[in-house]
């Protein structure tokens, strides 16, 4: 019963989070004096020269309708909630008109998910293992060195790490492709190998920075736990250090880290965007950048809506798993 109530509440929060997020996203671009219709007409004019005034008015009207900009702001908003949020139908991409924005996003989303999820999870696992070791044996020389390295890598801006990796491993050593080109035509084998090669460096740069943070936080957590009474007690009981490490220190510190993981997903997405742009990796990040530069409203809205939904859902899942790992939790 308690779990059901917790579950229900958590679901409501999830829905509200998404609603607030997308409302925010819906209204921001409309507060600024740019107009995708005017932009589009500008581009058509640039391409095809002069335009008859009456025809231009007609074109303007029909573009507004097609772009979902007709009607009051409130009507547009309701329309967006109905279509966009419930059916992921964001209308046509304005720059690739009339191809639906949702269709284009659908092509790229898996790549971003693959890149950011795997690297985030991997960074979390690796970072926590190293951090645990370092925290548990915090007086060892090796753990101090590890931590120092982590502290020096973590604050380096993403794009720099990405650029350095690109120059060293792709340009100088030539181990990886300079540009994330994926061979989608040459059969499954070629596809997978090119995908792997293309994702290696972007993932590595995300991993490097991500791991640093988890090492640092896990280390301080486990160091603190290791000082607690019940751990000391376990030592007196003569349990092996290994068992204390996994059984006591890890079990207690990992819970905090699971929450932190859920909270960090938004940040991981930010990192993925930067990385994608630098390696021209075909994902939602590059799509967002292009869409924003061309003021493709529907595409922007689509990309960010989907990312909000994805991240909120991931957080929800993490929160729901949480009680199964920590028996002490009360569903409140």
């Amino acid at each position: 019963m308690k779990f059901r109530k917790y579950f229900g509440l958590r679901l409501v929060t999830w829905a509200l989070t998404i609603l607030i997020g997308v409302t925010f996203i819906f209204f921001i671009p409309r507060m600024f004096p740019t107009d995708p219709v005017e932009n589009m007409i500008g581009q058509i004019q640039n391409r095809s020269g002069q335009m008859d005034p009456t025809e231009m008015a007609a074109l303007r009207r029909s573009l507004r309708l097609q772009f979902g900009l007709e009607g009051s702001l409130w009507e547009q908003y309701v329309n967006y909630l109905q279509k966009g949020l419930l059916r992921f139908d964001f209308g046509p991409s304005l720059m690739s008109f009339p191809t639906p924005a949702g269709e284009i996003i659908g092509t790229y989303l898996p790549y971003t998910l693959l890149l950011s999820l795997t690297s985030t999870l991997l960074a979390w696992v690796v970072g926590n293992i190293i951090g645990l070791l370092a925290g548990f044996r915090k007086d060892k020389r090796s753990s101090k060195v590890l931590e120092a390295i982590a502290i020096c890598i973590y604050p380096i801006p993403y794009f720099l790490v990405a650029l350095i990796l690109q120059i060293v491993f792709a340009f100088i050593l030539g181990w990886f492709p300079l540009q994330s080109t994926i061979n989608s035509m040459g059969g499954l084998g070629a596809y997978l190998s090119s995908l792997l090669r293309a994702s290696a460096l972007p993932a590595a740069s995300l991993l490097l920075v991500g791991t640093g943070w988890w090492i640092i936080s896990m280390k301080s957590l486990s160091a603190a736990t290791a000082e607690e009474d019940f751990v000391q007690y376990a030592r007196f009981r003569g349990l092996s250090e290994g068992r204390i490490g996994t059984g006591y220190v890890m079990r207690n510190s990992i819970l905090t880290q699971i929450t932190a993981l859920a909270m960090s997903l938004g940040g991981a997405f930010n990192g993925a965007i930067m990385t994608e742009i630098i390696f021209s990796y075909p994902g939602v990040g590059t799509l967002i950048q292009k869409a924003i530069l061309q003021s493709d409203y529907n595409m922007i809205l689509g990309c960010i809506t989907i990312s909000i939904v994805a991240i909120a859902t991931a957080t929800l899942i993490a929160d729901l798993i949480y009680p199964f790992i920590d028996p002490r939790i009360r569903y409140s």
């Binding site: 929060t13 989070t17 925010f24 996203i25 921001i28 604050p155 938004g266 950048q289 990312s307």
Partner: protein
Amino acid sequence: MKKFWRNANGRLKTGLIMTAIFLFIGFVIYYIPHVNPFFQNTYGRKLPPSGTHPLGTTSLGQDVMWLLIEAIHNSLTIGLIVATIGTVVGVLVGLVAGFSGGLTDRALMVVTDTFVVIPSLPILVLMTALMRGNSTVVLLALVLAMFAWAWPSRQIRSMALSMKERDFIQTAWFSGEGTMQVVVTEILPYALTWSLSNFMNATLSAIASESSLAVLGLSPGNLLSLGNMIQWARDRNAIFARQWYWIGSPIVATVLLFIGLFLLITGYNDYLQMKRGR
């Protein structure tokens, strides 16, 4: 002060010294009269480091050292504005949520969680792309601050929840002090110590966000920040043309500044923990 220094751990000391140096550069040395480093063709182009130009000049005839000093100043300013707004708003929201409880708490926390969860970069990119024509340092800082308050407010709320039960608060309450008074006299000082590390963290992440935006070419074109300095050098291909002083100095400065702030944060947290432990 002396006592503090004696009790401070190595990280806190290193972090303090590093950060202090940057603050000194950004807010003291910066005020030594100098030619506006933004002006092009003030000096010769691509000069190597020398007595007059310790870090050489750019391909546009600007002095790299003064560019760097001004960039540090502006980046720190942005960081501090963002952190101030973020912390003040965060503390207020967190305290209100924590102490009022009930529906107010729920509502505030949903909003807060939204801002913790939604990815900030695409929204920042969107906003800066739309307003870049009119953006200034302050405006940019305001936009960045939108995402700076949520995390501290979450933290402060949980702190407030635990404090609500503590004896000295209960005592104050029973002795007839109003909620407002309790909050101001008893809780705020406590919350501020708490949020100091948040403050530094917000400074760091604001500077990092600004440089991300700059690298995407979205920071205002006349804002001389660390991020823009890197971007402008990149724009003139300084990396591959091996103009190390020009491209390297803002990068090294950013990394050192981040490491300094980071050491300060973790050192300070350890210090607090140790103090509380006593």
